[in-house]
C-alpha cells in the first residue's frame, strides 16, 4: 500500500500554563480528570489518524470537541503540544518557518467557515493572493485567477469586492483562493455552515464536481451528518478532543463504538447507507432471486419486500448470503 498523505500520531493540544511540562510530568498521557483538575483545557487529546491520497476525511463532533484545533494543528496554524505529524513523509513539526511557508505556498489550502476574504481586495485579487505572495508575476497570476474564478462559477465577477457578493458567492471565492496554488491537501473548516440550506446543497454539489476533476486529499469539518455522508470516504467523530471512532459511514451506523457516536447516526436514513451485504444473513436454500451485495438497501428494498421468500445475495457472481423482508423492514424502521 502506498504511503499515506498525512499522518498524525498521538497529537495533543492543551491550553494552559506550560502545557509541555504538564504533559511530560504525567507520562505524556494524563487522564481527563487530571487535566481538568489542574485547570488545563484539552482541545485535542491523543489523536491519531491517517489520510490517504485522494481521500475525503470528514471530521465531526459537537461544538468545542476540538475539530478546528486538530485541523489547525495539522496545518501548524497552531503549535501542537505533543505528537507527530507527517506530511508526505516529511516531519511537519520539525519543519522550519521557511519550510512551512514553502509548504503552505505549494501544498496546502484552507477554506474557512466565515470565508476570511480580504475586504480590501477584489475577487480577482483575493484569488490571486497566494500567487502574489509567492511572487508570481502579474500576468500569470491574473490568467490563473481568472481560470479559477470560472471554475468556481463566478465568471465576470472578478472585479467585485467581497462585500458586493452574497454569502455563497463569497465562499466560492474562498474556495477559489485556496485552490489557486493547486494544493495537495485541502483543509475545509465548516465551509458551508454559514450558508442557508439551499445554497449549502448547491455548494456541496459544486464541491463534489470539483473534487471529481481535482482529486485532492481533503480534510473536511462539518456539523451536519447528512453533509458528511454525501461527501465522506471516511468519517472521524470527535468528543472532548478525542477521536471516538474513525470509519466509513456504514461502519459508524452498524457498529457505533459508543452512545455518543450512535447519537450522531441516529436520525440518518439508514436504508440509503447500508448495503445489502451488511444486513444479509447466511445463505439460505429457500432463497429465490438474487440481489447484488454492493447495492444500498434502499434501492433493493422494492425487490426484497415484494419477494415471498428470502432473496439471495451475490457478490462477484457467487452467492454469499440471503436477506429477508423482515431484515429490511427492521433496518428501515429501526425496530428493536
Amino acid at each position: 500500500m502506498n504511503q499515506p498523505k498525512l499522518v498524525c500520531r498521538n497529537l495533543w493540544k492543551l491550553y494552559g500554563p506550560e502545557p509541555e511540562k504538564f504533559l511530560a510530568a504525567h507520562g505524556g498521557n494524563p487522564s481527563a480528570e487530571i487535566i481538568k483538575e489542574e485547570g488545563y483545557i484539552p482541545a485535542v487529546r491523543n489523536a491519531s489518524l491517517e489520510v490517504q491520497e485522494g481521500e475525503i476525511l470528514v471530521l465531526m463532533g459537537l461544538s468545542g470537541s476540538g475539530k478546528s484545533t486538530l485541523v489547525r494543528c495539522m496545518s501548524r496554524l497552531i503549535e501542537p503540544t505533543a505528537g507527530e505529524i507527517d506530511f508526505d513523509g516529511q516531519d511537519l513539526r520539525a519543519a522550519s518557518e521557511r519550510e512551512l511557508v514553502e509548504l503552505r505556498r505549494h501544498k496546502m489550502g484552507m477554506v474557512f467557515q466565515h470565508f476570511a476574504l480580504f475586504p480590501n481586495r477584489t475577487v480577482l485579487e483575493n484569488v490571486a493572493f497566494p500567487l502574489e505572495v509567492q511572487g508570481v508575476d502579474r500576468e500569470t497570476r491574473q490568467t490563473k485567477a481568472l481560470e479559477i474564478i470560472d471554475l468556481v462559477g463566478l465568471h465576470g465577477r472578478g472585479d467585485y469586492y467581497p462585500r458586493e457578493l452574497s454569502g455563497g458567492q463569497q465562499q466560492r471565492v474562498g474556495i477559489g483562493r485556496s485552490l489557486a496554488v493547486e494544493p495537495d491537501i485541502w483543509f475545509l473548516d465548516e465551509p458551508f455552515s454559514a450558508l442557508d440550506a439551499l445554497i449549502r446543497r448547491d455548494m456541496q454539489d459544486e464541491f463534489l464536481r470539483l473534487q471529481s476533476t481535482l482529486q485532492k486529499t481533503i480534510i473536511f469539518i462539518t456539523h451536519d451528518f447528512d453533509e458528511a455522508i454525501r461527501l465522506a470516504d471516511r468519517i472521524a467523530i470527535m468528543r472532548d478532543g478525542v477521536i471516538d471512532q474513525l470509519g466509513t459511514a456504514e461502519e459508524l451506523i452498524t457498529n457505533p463504538s459508543s452512545d455518543y457516536v450512535a447519537a450522531f447516526t441516529k436520525n440518518v436514513p439508514k436504508a440509503k447507507l447500508l448495503r445489502v451485504r451488511t444486513l444479509m444473513g447466511p445463505p439460505s436454500s429457500s432463497a429465490k432471486g438474487e440481489v447484488e451485495g454492493d447495492v444500498f438497501v434502499a434501492s433493493a428494498a422494492n425487490q426484497i419486500l415484494h419477494a415471498t421468500a428470502p432473496v439471495g445475495v451475490v457478490q462477484d457472481g457467487e452467492v454469499v448470503g440471503s436477506i429477508t423482508a423482515a431484515q429490511v423492514t427492521e433496518a428501515l424502521f429501526e425496530a428493536g
Binding site: 489547525r72 496545518s75 496554524l77 511557508v101 514553502e102 503552505r104 505556498r105 505549494h106 496546502m108 489550502g109 484552507m110 474557512f112 467557515q113 466565515h114 470565508f115 476570511a116 476574504l117 480580504f118 475586504p119 480590501n120 481586495r121 477584489t122 493572493f129 497566494p130 502574489e132 505572495v133 509567492q134 472578478g158 472585479d159 467585485y160 469586492y161 462585500r163 458586493e164 474562498g174 483562493r177 485556496s178 496554488v181 483543509f187
Partner: protein, 1001 residues
C-alpha cells in the same frame, strides 16, 4: 460651604448605590464616612486659617505643629523637587535647586550638554573590551544570520565611536568618502537583489566602518547636537511642503546647458513609460517633472510656489473625490477664506494671512504623516507583542493625562525654540492616539483572515504589509483622523516653542488682547480644522467599489485627470494673470473690525438695520399672515412661535411704529385681555378634565383632542395679545437696543464677589491630609484597596510637589465649571436623546463643536466677560459640556432595546421609562462622560492660561522651557495627577456598575 463640596458630593452620592455583597452600608453611611473626616479637617483648618493662614496658603501663626497638616512642610518637598522659596503670590524668587531642575539646568548650559566629556573613555582597557564584544556579537550575527545581532553589533560600534574609542582609525575624508560610498551602495544593491544575509551584513559593516573612520575627526558625539541633528531631518519635508505652498524652490543656480537636456530626457522617458504601462504614478511624475521643467525654463531656476487657484482647485478635487460636492465646496471654501480674508500686508513682502495659513497647513501636512507612521509602527509592535503592549498602554494613559504644554518642555530644552521644535511637539502629542487606534485595529482583525494569510503562505513581513495593515485600514484611517485633530489642537500651543504660522499669530494677538484679530485668526484655524477633519473622516469612510477592468483611462481615473487639469489650467492662468497667482491686496477683506466693534461697544444694537416702512411692511405682514394661518390651521406650536418671532423682528426694525399707542390706558387693557384669556382657558380646561375623569361621556380620544385644541387656542390667544401689546406699546421707546455686555459684566461681578472668590478662598484652605483621606476613602468604598491607594497617592503626590495651593485654585475652577457643565449637559443630553430627529441634529452640532481646537472657546468668554475668572469658567463650561452631552446621549441610547420594550409593555409612560429604566442604566456611561468632562475641563483650565494664568497653569505657562523647565514639568505632573485621580475613581466605579447592570461581562 455646601457648594464647595459639590463635586465631592456627586462622587460619593453616585458611588453610594454600589453595594458590596459582604457588608451593606447605606448610601447615607457611605457619604458620611467619606465626607465626614474631610469636612471636619477642613472646617478645623478653615477656622484656624481665618486667623492664622493667609489666603495664599502661607501659615502665619507660630504653632508649627499644625502646619504640616495644613501645608506640606517645606522639608518634605525639598527632597523631591525643592521649590523652596515659593511662598505664594508675592514671591518671585523661584529658586530652582531640586534635582529635576538641576538636571534640566545642566542641559541648559551648552558645555554640560557636551556629554562627550563624560563619554571619553580611556582607550587601553575599553578598546579591548569593546573589540571583544564586537567580535562576539559579530560572530553571533554571522552564525544565526539574525538581523537583531547585526543591529546590536552596529550599535556597539557606534557606541565605541561616540566614546572616541576609534580615533586611531581616522582617515582623510577626501578620497575615502567616495570609496566607502561607492562600496556601500554597491553592496546595498547587491543585497537588495539577492537578499542573502552575507550581502546585508557586508553593507552594514562597510557602512559602519566608513562612518566610524570618517567621522572621528568631527567633534564626536554630543547629545544636544545629536537631538538637533535628528530634528534637522524634519527640515527636509518641511522645506518641501513650504516650498510647494508658499516660498517656492530655488533659485537653483544650475548651469543652463546640461539641464535642458536632462529635463527633456526625463520628461520624455517618464511620458513614454506612462504611455507604455498605462500607469497613473508615471503620469503624475511626468506631469510634475514637466511642470518643474517648464517653470524652470521660463523663469530660470526658481520654481515658484503653487498659485492659490491651483491649491483651491486641488482641495476641491480631493474633497470631491472623498465626499462629493459638499466636501469639495467646504475644502475650496477653506482655501478661499485663507486667500481672501485678512488684513492685506502693510509692506511688500510681509507675511499675509495666506502665508501664515500655508505655513500651518504645511506643518500639519508634515506632522500628520510622520505621527501616523510612527504611531502606527508603535501600535503594530504593541499589537504583536503582549509585553510591549502591557508596557505601552499605561504609558499612553499617562501621556494623555498630561496637558499639552508638558510636551513642549523637553522639546524646548533639547531642540531649542524653533519652528521644527513645535512640529516635533505636535508629532509627539499625536503619536499615542494613533498607536492606540492601531492596536485596536490590528487586534480587531478577524482571526480567520489572519489564518487565511498564513495559509496563503505569507512570510511575516508579507503578513504585515499584505494582510494586517490593509485589513485594519478602516481603523488606521480613524487614527489618521485623530492625528489630524491632535495636530490642529497643538497648532496654537506649539507656537510657545516657536512654531510659525496661524497659531503664533493668534498667540501674539491673544496675549496682546487684540480680540478682533484673534477671532479672525481663530475662525481661520477652525475652518481649517473642520475641513481637514471632514476630509480625513471621508477618507476613512471611502469604500472601494469595482469598475470594469477594461474601462478607458479617463473613466478609471477621473479625479487624477481633474487634478491634472486644475494644475495645468491654474498654472497657465497664474502665468498670464498675476491675481491668479497671489491675491492682490485690494481684494483682501478683513472683518476684525467687526469683532472689535462687537467687543468694544459691547452692543448688539439690532436697530442699526432699521428698515423704512411701506415697502417692507407689506411682505412682512404677508409672511406673518401666512405663518399665523399655518399655525391656526395645523394647530402647530412651531408655526405659532414663528409668527411671534416674525412680528418681533418687524418691531425690532421699527416697521410697526404706526401702531404706536400711548402706554397709560392701553397697558391695562392688554393686561386685562391677557388675564381674561388665561382665566377663561384655564376654567374650561378644568371643566373638561373633570368631565373626562368622571363621566367619560365622550370617547377618550375625542376628549383629548378637544383638550389639545383648546390648549392651543388659549396659547394662541395669550401670545397674540401679549405680542400685540408689546409691539404697540414699545414702539415709543428707544426701539430695540440691548446692551448685552452691561448685563454680562454685572452678572460677572456679582458671580465673582458672591460665589467665585469665596469659593476660591475656601478651596485654598483645603488641608491636603483631608483631601488625601477623602480620595482614599471614596476609592476604598468604590472598589477596595487598589483605587484607594492610587487616588490617595496621586493627591498626596500633588502636595509633595509643593504646588498645593496652585492645584487647589485650579481644582476650584474645575469643580465649579464641571458642575455647571453637568447641570447643563446631562439634562440637555437626556432631552436630545428622547427624539430621533432631535438627536440627529444635536449629534451634528456636537461633531461640529468637537472639531474646534479648545482655545476657540476663549473668544465668546472674553467677549462677554473680559479677561476674568468668570471668563475662564465660562470657557471651561463651554468646552466641557460637549462630552457630558455626548456621553449622556450615548448612555441612554445604549440601553438594551428589550429592556425598554419590557418596561413599555409593563405600562410605563415614556417619562417613567426614562426615569425608572433608561436613566439608571445610563448612569455608568454618564459618569464616564463626567470623567471626560473633568479631563476636558482640566485641559481647558490650562489653555485658559493663554489669557489669564492661574494656579498650575501659571506654573506651566510662565515657566519658559529654557528658564525653569523643571517647574513646568512638575506642574504638568501635578495636573496629570488631578486628572488621573478622578479618572481612577470614576472609571472604576463605572466599570463596576456596568458589570452589575450586565452591560459588560
Amino acid at each position: 460651604m455646601s457648594d464647595q463640596t459639590a463635586s465631592e458630593t456627586i462622587d460619593t452620592s453616585d458611588a453610594a448605590p454600589v453595594d458590596s455583597p459582604k457588608k451593606q452600608l447605606s448610601g447615607f453611611q457611605k457619604t458620611a464616612i467619606a465626607l465626614g473626616p474631610f469636612l471636619v479637617l477642613w472646617f478645623a483648618w478653615w477656622r484656624l486659617g481665618s486667623q492664622k493662614i493667609s489666603r495664599t496658603g502661607k501659615y502665619e501663626g507660630d504653632s508649627g505643629a499644625l502646619e504640616w497638616l495644613y501645608r506640606t512642610p517645606r522639608t518634605w518637598t525639598v527632597d523631591w523637587f525643592n521649590f523652596a522659596g515659593r511662598d505664594g503670590f508675592a514671591s518671585v524668587s523661584y529658586k530652582a535647586t531640586g534635582w529635576v531642575n538641576t538636571w534640566f539646568d545642566h542641559l541648559r548650559y551648552e558645555e554640560l550638554l557636551q556629554f562627550t566629556v563624560a563619554w571619553h573613555l580611556p582607550k587601553g582597557p575599553w578598546l579591548f573590551i569593546l573589540a571583544a564584544c564586537l567580535i562576539g556579537t559579530g560572530w553571533m550575527a554571522w552564525r544565526t544570520q539574525s538581523s537583531r545581532w547585526t543591529a546590536g553589533t552596529i550599535s556597539l560600534a557606534l557606541f565605541g565611536w561616540s566614546a572616541n574609542l576609534f580615533d586611531f582609525m581616522q582617515i582623510p575624508p577626501t578620497p575615502w568618502v567616495y570609496v566607502f560610498l561607492v562600496i556601500t551602495v554597491a553592496a546595498a544593491i547587491r543585497s537588495l537583489q539577492s537578499r542573502e544575509f552575507k550581502w546585508i551584513a557586508a553593507t552594514a559593516s562597510i557602512g559602519t566602518i566608513g562612518w566610524v573612520a570618517l567621522q572621528t575627526n568631527e567633534e564626536s558625539f554630543n547629545v544636544k547636537a545629536f537631538f538637533r541633528l535628528v530634528a534637522g531631518w524634519l527640515e527636509f519635508p518641511l522645506d518641501v511642503t513650504e516650498g510647494l505652498l508658499i516660498s517656492g524652490y530655488g533659485p537653483w543656480h544650475l548651469p543652463n546647458m546640461p539641464w535642458i537636456f536632462i529635463f527633456a530626457l526625463l520628461v520624455g522617458g517618464g511620458g513614454w513609460l506612462a504611455w507604455q504601462r498605462r500607469s497613473a504614478t508615471w503620469t503624475i511624475s511626468t506631469v510634475l517633472l514637466s511642470w518643474m521643467a517648464a517653470v524652470s525654463l521660463y523663469e530660470p531656476w526658481h520654481i515658484p510656489a503653487l498659485p492659490w487657484v491651483v491649491i483651491a482647485g486641488l482641495f476641491g478635487v480631493v474633497g470631491w473625490k472623498l465626499g462629493g460636492w459638499r466636501l469639495a465646496l467646504l475644502s475650496t471654501g477653506f482655501i478661499l477664506y485663507a486667500a481672501f480674508v485678512g488684513e492685506p500686508a502693510e509692506q511688500v513682502g510681509a507675511e499675509t494671512r495666506w502665508d501664515k495659513t500655508m505655513i500651518t497647513l504645511s506643518a500639519v501636512l508634515v506632522a500628520v504623516p510622520i505621527a501616523a507612521v510612527l504611531g502606527g509602527f508603535v501600535g503594530l509592535v504593541a499589537a504583536k507583542r503582549r509585553r510591549v503592549e502591557q508596557f505601552l498602554i499605561p504609558l499612553m494613559n499617562l501621556t494623555q493625562a498630561f496637558p499639552h504644554f508638558t510636551f513642549l518642555i523637553p522639546i524646548g530644552v533639547f531642540i531649542g525654540i524653533s519652528h521644527k521644535a513645535g512640529v516635533i511637539a505636535t508629532i509627539a502629542y499625536a503619536i499615542p492616539p494613533m498607536a492606540r487606534v492601531t492596536i485596536l485595529g490590528i487586534q480587531g482583525i478577524s482571526k480567520e483572515v489572519i489564518e487565511a494569510g498564513i495559509m496563503g503562505g505569507c512570510t511575516r513581513r508579507q503578513m504585515i504589509w499584505k494582510v494586517e495593515l490593509p485589513a485594519a485600514r478602516q481603523s488606521l484611517l480613524v487614527g489618521v483622523n485623530q492625528v489630524v485633530m491632535e495636530c490642529l489642537a497643538m497648532v496654537v500651543i506649539a507656537s510657545f516653542v516657536g512654531t510659525a504660522g496661524l497659531g503664533q499669530d493668534l498667540l501674539f494677538r491673544l496675549t496682546g488682547l487684540h480680540i478682533g484679530a484673534g477671532v479672525e485668526i481663530g475662525i481661520a484655524i477652525v475652518v481649517m480644522a473642520i475641513t481637514l477633519d471632514r476630509l480625513s473622516q471621508a477618507l476613512g469612510q471611502l469604500q472601494p467599489s469595482h469598475h470594469k477592468i477594461d474601462a478607458p483611462f479617463w473613466k478609471r481615473h477621473p479625479y487624477l485627470l481633474a487634478s491634472g487639469a486644475v494644475v495645468l489650467g491654474g498654472l497657465l492662468a497664474a502665468q498670464t494673470w498675476e491675481a491668479a497667482h497671489r491675491v492682490p491686496n485690494s481684494w483682501m477683506w478683513g472683518h476684525e473690525g467687526f469683532w472689535e466693534w462687537l467687543v468694544d461697544k459691547g452692543k448688539t444694537d439690532v436697530a442699526w438695520w432699521s428698515l423704512s416702512g411701506g415697502r417692507w411692511l407689506v411682505p412682512l405682514l404677508g409672511v406673518i399672515g401666512f405663518a399665523g394661518w399655518r399655525a391656526w390651521d395645523s394647530r402647530s406650536y412651531r408655526w405659532l412661535i414663528t409668527t411671534v418671532s416674525l412680528t418681533l423682528l418687524g418691531w425690532s426694525v421699527k416697521l410697526f411704529d404706526f401702531l404706536h399707542l400711548s402706554s397709560k390706558p392701553w397697558t391695562y387693557v392688554f393686561v386685562a385681555c391677557g388675564l381674561t384669556a388665561i382665566i377663561y382657558g384655564y376654567s374650561t380646561l378644568k371643566k373638561l378634565n373633570t368631565t373626562d375623569n368622571e363621566g367619560r361621556t365622550t370617547s377618550g380620544l375625542a376628549n383629548s383632542e378637544i383638550l389639545q385644541s383648546l390648549r392651543f387656542k388659549v396659547a394662541t390667544a395669550v401670545t397674540t395679545i401679549a405680542t400685540l401689546g408689546w409691539v404697540a406699546l414699545r414702539t415709543t421707546g428707544e426701539s430695540f437696543t440691548v446692551n448685552l455686555r452691561d448685563y454680562t459684566i454685572s452678572f460677572r461681578d456679582a458671580l465673582e464677589s458672591w460665589v467665585l472668590l469665596p469659593m476660591r478662598d475656601a478651596y485654598l484652605t483645603i488641608p491636603w491630609v483631608g483631601l488625601v483621606i477623602l480620595f482614599g476613602v471614596v476609592g476604598y468604598l468604590i472598589n477596595g484597596r487598589r483605587p484607594a491607594l492610587l487616588a490617595a497617592g496621586m493627591i498626596a503626590f500633588i502636595s509633595l510637589t509643593g504646588f498645593w495651593w496652585q492645584a487647589m485654585w485650579n481644582l476650584y475652577q474645575l469643580t465649579f465649571a464641571v458642575v455647571l457643565a453637568i447641570v447643563f449637559g446631562v439634562p440637555f443630553g437626556i432631552w436630545a436623546a428622547t427624539r430621533k430627529r432631535r438627536n440627529a441634529v444635536v449629534q451634528v452640532l456636537l461633531d461640529f463643536f468637537q472639531t474646534f481646537p479648545s482655545f476657540v472657546y476663549l473668544f465668546p468668554a472674553i467677549m462677554f466677560f473680559d479677561v476674568s475668572e468668570t471668563a475662564i469658567i465660562v470657557a471651561i463650561v463651554l468646552s466641557a459640556s460637549v462630552p457630558a452631552i455626548r456621553y449622556t446621549i450615548f448612555g441612554i441610547q445604549n440601553v438594551p432595546e428589550p429592556l425598554v420594550e419590557a418596561s413599555t409593555m409593563a405600562g410605563c409612560t415614556p417619562r417613567q421609562t426614562l426615569w425608572k429604566v433608561k436613566l439608571p442604566m445610563a448612569v455608568p456611561e454618564i459618569m464616564l462622560g463626567i470623567n471626560q468632562t473633568i479631563m476636558f475641563g482640566l485641559f481647558m483650565v490650562m489653555i485658559a492660561g493663554l489669557i489669564k494664568t492661574t494656579g498650575l497653569a501659571r506654573e506651566l505657562i510662565e515657566a519658559q522651557p529654557n528658564i525653569d523647565s523643571g517647574r513646568a514639568i512638575v506642574a504638568g505632573i501635578a495636573v496629570a495627577c488631578i486628572g488621573m485621580a478622578s479618572d481612577v475613581l470614576i472609571s472604576e466605579w463605572a466599570d463596576k456598575r456596568k458589570r452589575q447592570l450586565g452591560l459588560i461581562s
